[in-house]
């Protein structure tokens, strides 16, 4: 009997997870379908671009500069074991633009943006503002979800690009001032070794992560439970789901872009 109960519990957990994946996929499909059909709410899109993109710059920039700096120290220490200190500029640059820039940028945006979107839309749901939108002939998917998802998909690659540049600068500052590397050689090494696809792949990852972050925020906000506890749970679930999906999709995208 215990074995059957265990199998039943496992089965029900797997079914629950598959149902959740299905609901998120349907929500994503609806979002894309509304993205392509009018009406479009340009003012809401502009506001989302500012709150998601512009106001995330400080946190993404700070994350990038410290990450680039720590990366330079680590690679210098590791490289010195086999006299390869000269690889610091190229590995910092490639590491930042391919992986750390998009992933850490995406995670910081997930913490900042997925939580705020889920809390805002969740509160709107529990105070009947979403129902009010419907009665005022306004589709909540078009008015709330589409502008946020589109803004995040466009803004996060820009944040990643800025983060990449700041991260490389962090590595440069540590490399030149702390490790005594030659300034001109550092810069020329960085430029010489970086290829177009290194940068472009990171920006594509940024767009995917932006889409995931806003989608998760909107999905959990729209499906928030009642009361303060419901909104709290929705906010937590949005950040956790966005973070896990960013890391999982990062692996899949890396396989897709770079596996030979």
């Amino acid at each position: 009997m215990i074995v059957i109960r265990l199998i039943a519990a496992l089965g029900s957990a797997v079914l629950g997870m598959l149902a959740a994946v299905g609901r998120v996929a349907l929500f994503a499909g609806q979002t894309i379908s509304h993205l392509l059909r009018p009406p479009f709410y340009f003012k809401e899109f502009g506001q989302s671009l500012i709150t998601i993109g512009y106001f995330s710059l400080p946190v993404v920039g700070l994350t990038a500069i410290f990450t680039g700096a720590a990366l330079a120290l680590q690679i210098y220490e590791g490289g010195s074991r086999f006299n390869a200190e000269s690889v610091v500029p190229s590995i910092v640059a490639i590491g930042m633009v391919r992986e750390l820039g998009p992933v850490l940028g995406g995670l910081m945006v997930a913490a900042r943006v997925a939580s705020s979107i889920a809390a805002e839309i969740g509160t709107m749901k529990v105070t009947e503002q979403i129902d009010a939108l419907v009665t005022l002939s306004t589709n909540p998917m078009k008015y709330l979800t589409v502008p946020r998802v589109l803004a995040a998909t466009l803004a996060v690659p820009v944040l990643v690009a800025v983060g990449d540049a700041i991260g490389i600068m962090g590595g440069y500052l540590v490399g030149v001032n702390r490790l005594g590397l030659n300034s001109a050689a550092y810069l020329s090494n960085t430029v010489d070794f970086l290829e177009f696809w290194d940068i472009a792949s990171g920006l594509v990852k940024g767009a995917v992560f932006g889409f995931i972050v806003a989608l998760m925020g909107c999905y959990y906000g729209m499906n928030s439970g009642r009361g303060a506890q419901g909104v709290g749970r929705a906010t937590k679930a949005a950040v956790v789901a966005a973070s896990v999906m960013i890391l999982a999709s990062n692996y899949l995208l890396t396989e897709l872009f770079f596996s030979a």
Partner: protein, 248 residues
């Protein structure tokens, strides 16, 4: 005219509506009474299409609400929500003129603002509240703004969900009188849900009592006190003893 025929709705094991039959004639003010959690809000939201009934039919002026073109259908409705449901991120006038600033009823901004200010005046608010945010207003003022938003696009049908909840008795009286005046003035069909008996007497032409998922009694408001229905009598007199079980 709004007609509900054998409307059923369940949430999991909780069978909220068990065959609701009700007719609201055009231009009449119908008030639905019933205890908390009896499904009054679910019934109202079913008419608007915010909740999909499991079975039964809801017909508004000859059209089935499940097959009607949504935007044109909803453009005929106005609704005052229990908590106001004002949009926090918009100013008072933008809330009132929400429908006039976008979609099929879109008007130039200045015209929409002028209409919003006129509607605010109609509900007793001065022009200086127009540029404030909802969070800066008292509960009574928020209800008035909600009322102004509900009537801004001159709807033919207006729904009021617990219009006096959370207000003091005097403010409740003011809101009740306003609702009655506006409904008469606009000639609108009104459906109000409440458990406040002062609202019932001030607003209603007709009353319906919802209990156990069905309409227990419906009739003219003047017949309510002498209807002889034990459910209605217990409810309107606020008795703990009677056919409606009170959870103690």
């Amino acid at each position: 005219m709004i007609t509900l025929h054998q409307v059923h709705k369940a949430f999991g094991d909780n069978h909220v509506l068990r065959g609701v039959d009700l007719t609201i004639p055009k231009g009449e003010s119908m008030v639905i009474i019933g205890g908390s959690g009896t499904g009054k809000s679910v019934m109202l939201k079913s008419v608007l299409g915010l909740v999909a009934p499991d079975a039964g039919q809801i017909i508004v002026d000859g059209q089935d609400v499940t097959t009607v073109e949504r935007d044109a259908f909803l453009a005929r409705f106005g609704m005052l929500f229990q908590g106001g449901a004002l949009f926090d991120s918009l100013t008072v006038w933008q809330n009132v003129a929400f429908r006039l600033l976008r979609g099929s009823l879109k008007k130039p901004t200045e015209e929409a603002r002028a209409i919003a200010i006129e509607k605010l005046r109609r509900v007793g608010l001065k022009e200086n509240v127009a540029d404030r945010f909802p969070a800066e207003l008292s509960g009574g003022m928020q209800k008035r703004v909600g009322l102004a938003r509900a009537i801004a696009a001159e709807p033919e049908i207006i729904f009021f969900d617990e219009p006096t909840t959370g207000l003091d008795p005097i403010m409740s009286g003011v809101i009740n009188d306003l609702i009655r005046e506006i409904v008469v003035e606009m000639g609108a069909t009104a459906m109000t849900i409440t458990h406040d008996m002062s609202s019932v007497r001030a607003i209603a032409d007709d009353v319906a009592m919802l209990h156990d998922g069905v309409i227990q009694w419906t009739g003219d408001v003047e017949q309510m006190d002498s209807c002889g229905d034990p459910y209605v009598e217990q409810f309107i007199n606020g008795r703990a003893e009677g056919p409606i079980e009170a959870v103690r």
